[in-house]
């Protein structure tokens, strides 16, 4: 049982929940950027949580299945077809041997996910099947899929079945302006109060430099509080003594281009961080694309933890309903 890649799309990678425990030596977690779409995909096809799936961006892949199986397409709003016949998304679908999955044009969001019964079977590297392309590790040969690749399927299927459907209320929508909630802090004192206010007041535009490493935005200029730089930091006012970066943290080198660090980002460095996007909202961020607008909404720790608990409860409820 395998999947033949006829067309990889723009960049399609194997991802799971991520690679944890090695942040301190410089391994970012990698893993599915939109964790909600990824988890729902596995629940729909009846996989154990954590089975590896495919993450595409902007353009879906064209994939042929060599045996009967069950798949689910989740994430971005994108028409999917099996041998040219439209198939629903956010629903598990039976695939017969020899059928080909293809995609039309994206109408909302940015990243479609394809979950397959059993999961994608690639060797786990440092405890994860996720692809980390920067150093060429994990996933399928450490890289995005290419035409002619043949993926084998794993044994993570618990109860594969077609016809499971996510309730409409749970299907995410992608409004024109994405709102990302963040906890202001870390080195936010390095920015002037005006600039911090401007940061949350601005509808930032996603630049072409937006990928699994991080998203860069344009839209306003932010200023740093002048100071004599501490020893070791370097002379630029955006510099701090090199330290760890949280996943989801926001830095503004040069004051003009905020960067949100994502799952394939560098784990540390010497730029001041003004806050961190709450973990749940990285899912929403993953469904934005170049040219989209984004607003950052400040929340406190209690709100961030409530958002996290609500999402966990929602996923539990979905898993129970689909089991």
């Amino acid at each position: 049982m395998s999947i033949l890649v006829h067309d990889p799309g723009l960049e399609t990678t194997v991802q799971d929940t991520g690679r944890f425990g090695h942040y301190a030596i410089g391994f970012p977690p990698s893993g599915a950027l939109d964790s909600f779409a990824y988890h729902v995909g596995n629940a729909l096809v009846g996989n154990a949580p954590g089975a590896a799936a495919l993450e595409a961006v902007y353009l879906g892949p064209t994939l042929e299945f060599t045996a009967d199986t069950v798949i689910a397409v989740t994430g971005a709003d994108i028409p999917a077809t099996l041998d040219g016949e439209a198939v629903p998304t956010w629903e598990s679908v039976a695939v017969r041997a020899g059928q080909t999955l293809a995609f039309g044009q994206l109408t909302g969001g940015a990243r479609p996910y394809v979950a397959v019964a059993g999961g994608i079977d690639v060797p786990a590297v440092y405890g994860s099947r996720s692809t980390y392309t920067l150093v060429g590790m994990g996933g399928f040969g450490g890289r995005g899929l290419a035409e002619g690749d043949e993926l084998t399927l794993g044994d993570d299927a618990v109860s594969p079945r077609a016809g499971r459907r996510l309730s409409d209320d749970d299907v995410p929508t992608y409004p024109e302006i994405a709102e990302l909630r963040l906890l202001v802090g870390l080195h936010s004192y390095r920015l002037t109060p005006d600039s911090l206010e401007r940061f949350t007041d601005t509808a930032w535009k996603v630049t072409p430099d937006a990928n699994r490493v991080g998203y860069r935005y344009r839209g306003a200029e932010l200023e740093f509080v002048p100071r004599e730089q501490p020893f070791g930091a370097g002379s630029d006012p955006a510099n701090v003594t090199d330290c760890g970066y949280p996943v989801g943290s926001v830095q503004v080198p040069g004051g003009v281009e905020p960067i949100v660090l994502l799952q394939d980002a560098v784990t540390g460095g010497g730029y001041a961080t003004l806050g961190t996007v709450v973990s749940v909202d990285r899912d929403r961020l993953a469904q934005t694309k170049t040219g989209d607008r984004t607003r950052f909404v400040a929340v406190d720790l209690d709100e961030a933890l409530t958002i996290r608990r609500d999402r966990a409860a929602q996923l539990d409820r979905i898993r129970t309903a689909l089991a």
């Binding site: 942040y23 802090g185 002379s235 003594t241 760890g244 949280p246």
Partner: protein, 301 residues
């Protein structure tokens, strides 16, 4: 933001806690971060998922479903009060580590070619990174600057950026430490194994890629080995060589010495020379040069 005298604690979203011992780099600040993170690791508190000591700060990834991030900060404050300021004074606090011989070719042709391509992003478009570093650090000649860079060992005070990259802080008193700015705008290109310097830190770039540190030289031996082809990596079942707390002696080699190492790497027979070290911060702070001399003797005897 949690207020506490001494270390500044803050939350990096719902999953991270950041603790800043000092805004400036210093060995005592680093030793405090080290002592706290070591104790935290020993205590194995449920919900503490990853502990990342860094130069003058540290970061913890927490599972907020098992440990409230505010409770974690309270635990960190307790540990701070127990071990925070003892690290630099208490002779019984030592780091069981190793000293590693790392050949380096300074002023090498490979980084020279790259740095000349990016002069428009540099503070001194008409010179080289080494000439610039020498001048702003008050050295009469580039040669004297190179002697200082390679003259005393370094401590790996942080790992990361990308897998295996060591941030190295030279084990010399503050007045002898080199400091250079990063490039005005980062380069889009840095050769694999480049030896760079930014702020007060030397680094070796594990893989090629973007970078903003001043380029001073090249290391012939790999520090990242995804296929684990070299014995040091295969035997430790690791794709990275360095560890937090390693002491590194950058040993100058010329082009013949560089090529010699490259041949061993090509034959998959390269091995770093190392010696065990029981590093005592208090002893080091009392006698830096004596401590360094003893470590070097252990490495090269």
């Amino acid at each position: 933001m949690a207020e506490h005298e001494g270390i500044r604690y803050d939350h990096g979203g719902d999953e991270f806690v950041y603790a800043e011992v000092s805004t400036a780099m210093s060995l005592p600040a680093h030793f405090t971060a080290l002592a706290i993170t070591r104790r935290l690791a020993e205590e194995a508190i449920p919900g503490v998922e990853e502990i990342c000591p860094s130069n003058a700060s540290y970061m913890v990834r927490v599972d907020p479903d098992r440990l409230h991030p505010r409770d974690l900060v309270r635990e960190l404050q307790r540990i701070e009060s127990e071990v925070g300021d003892k690290a630099s004074a208490d002779p019984s606090f030592t780091i069981d580590t190793r000293i590693v011989d790392v050949p380096i070719m300074l002023n090498d042709p490979w980084t020279h070619e790259v740095l000349m391509k990016f002069r428009d992003r540099h503070q001194d478009p008409n010179g080289t990174d080494l000439d610039y570093g020498a001048r702003i650090n008050g050295y009469d000649t580039t040669e004297a600057f190179i002697d200082a860079l390679a003259g005393s060992p370094y401590l790996v005070t942080m790992m990361g950026f990308v897998p295996g990259l060591p941030w190295c802080f030279q084990l010399v008193p503050r007045e002898r430490q080199v400091e250079v700015p990063k490039y005005i705008r980062p380069r889009t290109e840095t050769p694999e194994r480049a030896f760079g310097f930014g702020g007060a830190f030397a680094v070796i770039y594990p893989v090629k890629g973007a970078g903003g540190y001043q380029l001073f030289g090249s290391a012939p031996a790999p520090i990242f080995d995804a296929a684990q082809e070299q014995p040091d990596f295969a035997e430790n079942d690791s794709v990275v060589f360095f560890r937090h707390g390693d002491v590194i002696n950058f040993r100058r080699v010329d082009e013949a010495g560089y090529d010699e190492v490259r041949e061993q790497v090509a034959a998959k027979q390269w091995r770093y020379r190392t010696a065990p070290v029981d590093f005592s911060p208090s002893r080091f702070l009392a006698d830096p040069d004596g401590t360094n001399a003893a470590m070097l003797e252990a490495l090269y005897r």
